[in-house]
Symmetry: C2
Subunit: 128 residues, 2 copies
């Protein structure tokens, strides 16, 4: 039987993309990136932990906002270069206050973007 | 109102990741990459069209296998660097014959991988 770390492939920056899906509703909440280290920490702690490309640092989801993600299921794709996580999301996944980062629907061939997501918190109150 | 192409951000290779979700079941089927050109073609034709990083060419999903993906909904995330598509998938999304590329569940802290996906076609019969 394969070990995850024999199969997972990190890109040239040492990162693997992680798709995050709500374990209850199956809504896709966000995508983020993991290093080998943050992947190990996620599996060991059950708390979703990423690598912030903008801040170049480890990022335990919810450490600032309280909007923690609890790991329910982890999956890997056929060629080992993408991960999929099903999580219990507290509050909202998106820093804008929406439940999902994908709160904008693309209209037609891209002429318009419609916000139709669910706002679950006020970012001004959470990120002071 | 914003135009998609004012908002979407391509990486250093001119690509944006595209998460693909089954419009009926909400199962995440695969992740692939798009150029600006294949994104435009996807929206214009309603047939999911990607950029193959391994072959360095445009790739209309299903052109070899017949397992076409019909676009139902397109979304973009908060920072514009990931796309999410809901599709009607004919046959299976994965070249291995599984419905979803994420057919392997990660056990424990990565000691094991369990195939628990749904096999929907025999790749030996489809890719001759």
């Amino acid at each position: 039987m394969s070990d995850l770390f024999d199969v997972v492939t990190f890109n040239d920056n040492g990162l693997v993309p992680a798709i995050v899906q709500d374990a209850e509703t199956d809504e896709v909440l966000m995508m983020a990136y993991m290093t080998a280290d943050t992947l190990e920490k996620t599996l060991a702690t059950g708390r979703m932990t990423y690598w912030s490309r903008s801040r170049q640092e480890e990022w335990v989801k919810g450490q600032t906002s309280g909007h923690v993600q609890h790991l329910r299921e982890a999956r890997i794709d056929c060629d080992g270069d993408t991960l999929l996580f099903r999580v219990d999301q507290e509050g909202g996944a998106c820093h804008t206050g929406y439940r999902s980062c994908f709160f904008r629907r693309i209209g037609g061939t891209g002429e318009s973007l419609e916000d139709d997501g669910t706002q679950v918190f006020d970012p001004a109150e959470v990120y002071e």
